[in-house]
Amino acid sequence: MSELIERAYVITLTIPDNEAFTALTTLARMGLPVDAAVRSDVWIATVEAAHAAALDGTIGTIETVYNPNKHRLEIRSNARPLPGEVWITALDETPAITVSGRTVDGVRGIVRRTAWRLLDEHGADVPAGILDRATESFLCNPAFQKAIR
């Protein structure tokens, strides 16, 4: 068995994202100065290092996870949000061992989170305080979810 590493697969719609738009309209109603909301699915795999490259390729072939006609796939070598992102996950997050029902060699566990980025009218990330307010008052229900910054 080789060393275990983490891989994050950040999958974002390239077509209009109705859910993100609905979130945006809600944030506007709440009075938050946000011009765009970007939502991504984040699949975080704990995988044997020797199998990581193969997993990268496999993720790109599971169309229920990633469809190249409507998604952008970004592969990250660590499972931390970038500055300006917040990840929402369940407090009782339980890793699965399959990806969309498929077993993948070397994968020890995989979890799914939702990433949000909120942008201002210039396309830049909103100030951290705005993202915090949006998270605490709308994007995350702390009764069963946690926000990772």
Partner: protein, 265 residues
């Protein structure tokens, strides 16, 4: 004059007609009101019922977007003024997201949630729920007797009550846990969805707002009881009996009784 009850419909609500029928059969003047009428179109109603469905497609989180909808301003104002408010299934999720139930925190800052079911799957099963608090604790259902058992259908993917342990303790201690899952005799049973403390329904501090996950309106007529139900079996071959209110109808009759026995403020 009959009490006027608004059955509030959001984009994606799908249980408004059976809810309206059950309310009307209980003697209430129930009107389906779409969210687009805004809060100004709601304020003259005596009470509000938020039916089941998938408001705003459950985007972001079940009930989260609807809880911030402008039309909810009237529901929140009404609840704070003592009007009766019931949320069923998705309506219950909305009430928790709006902070009206259990009402232990600020508005629109939920302290509890109906989170994804244990196992992560949508489920549709027949259940019974039992009133787990004294009837006087829930004037919104003033017509219920102590320990009343109500048949209903679970039909949800997110019905597992979740909250920190301290909050759950407080909810039980302070009488917020209005309904628990039970068998037909009223004996408490494990919640089919893994709900904490087997809770099926929550109320607020004043008992004028109730959030319940199973659907009594889908079990409020003899013909839509589950197969094997004795009332349904006895009604076979008798259309009038089959179309009569029974079972879950007591939930709506208790709601209607509240307008006379525990007149909302």
């Amino acid at each position: 004059m009959k009490p006027r009850v608004a059955v509030v419909v959001f984009p994606g609500t799908n249980s408004e007609h059976e809810t309206q029928r059950a309310l009307a059969a209980a003697g209430l003047d129930a009107e389906i009101v779409h969210w687009s009428r805004g809060s100004a179109g709601l304020r003259h109603f005596d009470a509000f019922v938020l039916p089941g469905g998938f408001a705003y497609e459950d985007r972001v989180r079940a009930g989260a977007v609807a809880a911030h909808d402008e039309v909810m301003d009237a529901v929140i104002e009404g609840a704070q003024a003592g009007k009766f408010v019931i949320g069923i299934c998705n309506g219950a999720q909305i009430l928790l997201e709006a902070g009206l139930v259990p009402g232990t925190g600020p508005l629109r800052r939920p302290t509890a949630a109906f989170a994804p079911n244990a196992g992560g799957r949508f489920m549709c099963v027949h259940v019974h729920v039992r009133l787990a608090v004294a009837p006087a604790r829930v004037p919104v259902l003033a017509g219920l007797s102590a320990g009343a058992v109500i048949p209903a259908w679970v039909s949800h993917g997110e019905g597992r009550l979740a909250a920190p342990d301290a909050e759950l303790d407080a909810l039980e201690r302070d009488g917020h846990a209005a309904f628990v899952y039970c068998d037909a005799r009223g004996e408490r049973v494990p919640a089919p969805n893994g709900s904490a403390r087997d809770v099926a329904g929550l109320t607020n501090r004043d008992g004028n707002v109730l959030a319940i996950m199973p659907h009594p309106e889908r079990d409020a007529w003899t013909f839509n009881h589950r197969d094997g139900d004795p009332t349904k079996a006895a009604a076979r071959g008798n259309a009038q009996a089959m179309l009569a209110p029974s079972g879950g109808s007591i939930f709506f009759e208790a709601f209607a009784a509240g307008f006379t026995t525990a007149r909302p403020r």
